[in-house]
């Protein structure tokens, strides 16, 4: 399903681009390349941008953060998309990051679970199998059922990199969607899972991490630590084209903020 959107978008854009060219030479184009986790956010922004600007071509190439950063470095796209901050050497290579939004990842348990708060270390120990029973954490004497996402998922990559558990997680279940994770955790009183903050419902309990409850405000001020930035990457020495600059400004405007929230992320504004 996730893969269909960009293909469809590209096809749509190609059609509209051709139509646009035939009619008159106006509009221009914006090309973006990078993080698959930002697909929904960039999708709604791209759609809105095209609606507001007739004949503009907007493309998004879901290749992953690393490839997106490389693409903008090599001038193969206007704006690179990254779901992590730039490394020092990338900044030294002439790239600038502009934070578009934050993505909070909530750690969820069953509402019947007595545990309310865990710190990042403890969460990492649960996921790597060092802590296996809720009684060690002040809960019932029951084995912890560790739920996660499938290999390749952006949420999994984000969660594992923040908790430092890459390749070390011992999942009991690997589910293929946020909805499945929430349903499964809501069904099993001993389960723990993670899901994008925006998707969390009353069916499950989002625990606080290091004493900070996950919420839009705590994600925005950085006190809730299981989060990652969605970053627009641009080149220092090359000026954006007029259209690309227009999209860049639009993405960071107040107007775009509700669209970003709607796509499940926390806008910077």
């Amino acid at each position: 399903m996730k893969r269909i959107l960009p293909v469809f978008l590209t096809a749509l854009l190609t059609c509209s681009a051709l139509a646009g060219c035939a009619a008159q030479q106006k509009g221009g184009s914006v090309s973006t390349d990078g993080s698959t986790s930002m697909e929904e956010v960039i999708g709604v922004l791209g759609e809105a941008f095209q609606e507001n600007n007739d004949g503009v071509t907007f493309t998004y190439n879901p290749t992953g953060s690393g490839s997106g950063i490389q693409a903008v470095q090599e001038g193969r796209c206007d704006i690179g998309l990254s779901s992590r901050s730039l490394k020092e050497e990338e900044k030294a290579g002439g790239l600038t990051e502009t934070v578009l939004a934050y993505d909070g990842i909530a750690v969820i348990v069953n509402p019947q679970n007595a545990v309310e708060d865990l710190d990042v270390d403890t969460i990492a120990k649960i996921y790597t199998g060092e802590i296996t029973n809720w009684s060690e954490l002040g809960g019932n004497d029951a084995q912890i059922v560790v739920i996660g996402r499938e290999a390749g998922s952006g949420t999994r990559a984000g969660f594992e990199s923040i908790t430092g558990t890459e390749d070390a997680c011992r999942y009991r279940q690997e589910l293929t969607s946020t909805g499945d994770v929430i349903t499964t955790v809501s069904q099993n009183p001993d389960a723990i899972g993670y899901a994008s903050l925006a998707a969390v419902s009353d069916q499950v309990k989002a625990i606080s991490v290091g004493g900070i409850a996950p919420a839009e405000t705590t994600v925005k001020d950085g006190s809730y630590v299981i989060q990652r930035p969605f970053v627009l990457v641009t080149k220092n020495d090359a000026k954006l084209s007029d259209t690309a600059q227009k999209f860049f400004d639009f993405a960071l405007s107040d107007e775009a903020a509700p669209l970003i929230s709607q796509a499940g992320a926390v806008p910077v504004k």
Partner: protein
């Protein structure tokens, strides 16, 4: 006269073309699977691919061993057959030979309905009812397991087994049964010693059809089996060949994606093997 002949030939041509569409599809799929599946196997090494028990496709040092998936698919299918065949077979004997018309109508209707339920619905019911049920009944930490998948698969293959077996049992000539009854055999003796042996090739076909459906099912299994790439355990979280392809396909890239095609190729070979076995047994039972 001549005009009519041309018309006849044209119709023949059209039917031939339509028939060839199926053949063409099979050839195309086979060719594509082989071409897409070979590269990863060559990179990973056939032995490592088939017999390594560790699957970690996105790790820093990735490992692509599909032994857990193969064993899970074999165990899962065997389990579903073990539960589904006795139930399905006895149901079909009952419906074909014993049941009063009214009951037969109701049960057949239910079986057809069962056949029409989409697999995602089986998965959903399994996830909401069966998985928590297994967790409570067996007091295990989590109900998503090989057992849950086996139960779902057993129910899913029932309609194919029942329908094909009924057709086979009804095709047994009535004279056989009449002769047996006339010789003093009871009806039950007649059904199991005359009707069933006479219908055995059809019943074998029903079982193989069930195997095929069970080994190829992805959606329902994915929702109840937990999907962790472990070696199969009855109460453990497991991943089948089908779900291994389906669960990682959407975000995969590079060698990971190629390896998924290789898994599909292995699955395809399994199904070819099943078909070949079916043809072999059917032929032998006809000759014997």
């Amino acid at each position: 006269m001549n005009k009519q002949k041309t018309f006849e030939n044209m119709i023949h041509g059209i039917f031939l073309l339509l028939g060839l569409i199926t053949v063409g599809c099979v050839l195309l799929i086979t060719l594509y699977l082989v071409l897409a599946g070979i590269p990863a196997i060559r990179t990973i090494g056939l032995k490592d691919f088939l017999f390594n028990a560790r699957w970690a496709s996105t790790a820093k040092e990735p490992s692509y061993g599909i032994l857990p998936f193969i064993l899970t698919s074999v165990y899962g299918t065997a389990g579903a057959i073990l539960i589904g065949v006795p139930i399905g077979f006895l149901t079909s004997v009952y419906l074909a030979k014993m049941a009063p018309a009214k009951i037969r109508m109701i049960v057949s209707g239910a079986v057809s309905l069962l056949a029409g339920i989409p697999s995602v619905v089986y998965g959903l019911v399994g996830m909401m009812v069966l998985v928590p049920g297994i967790r409570k009944l067996f007091r295990v930490p989590d109900g998503a397991s090989l057992l849950a998948a086996i139960i779902v698969l057993a129910v899913m293959i029932l309609p194919s087994i029942i329908n094909v077996s009924i057709t086979a049992l009804e095709a047994v000539p009535k004279e056989y049964e009449d002769a047996s009854l006339a010789l003093g055999a009871t009806p039950v003796e007649t059904w199991f010693k005359v009707s069933v042996p006479a219908a055995r090739s059809g019943i074998a076909a029903a079982v193989v059809l069930g195997v095929g459906r069970a080994i190829g099912e992805a959606m329902a299994v994915m929702m109840v089996s937990g999907n962790a790439p472990n070696l199969p355990e009855l109460f453990g979280s497991v991943r089948f060949l089908t779900t291994a392809v389906a669960s990682e396909m959407s975000y995969s890239s590079g060698l990971q994606r190629q390896a998924l095609f290789s898994i599909a190729l292995v699955l395809f070979l399994f199904i070819m093997l099943i078909n070949a076995a079916l043809n072999f047994f059917l032929k032998r039972s006809k000759e014997g």
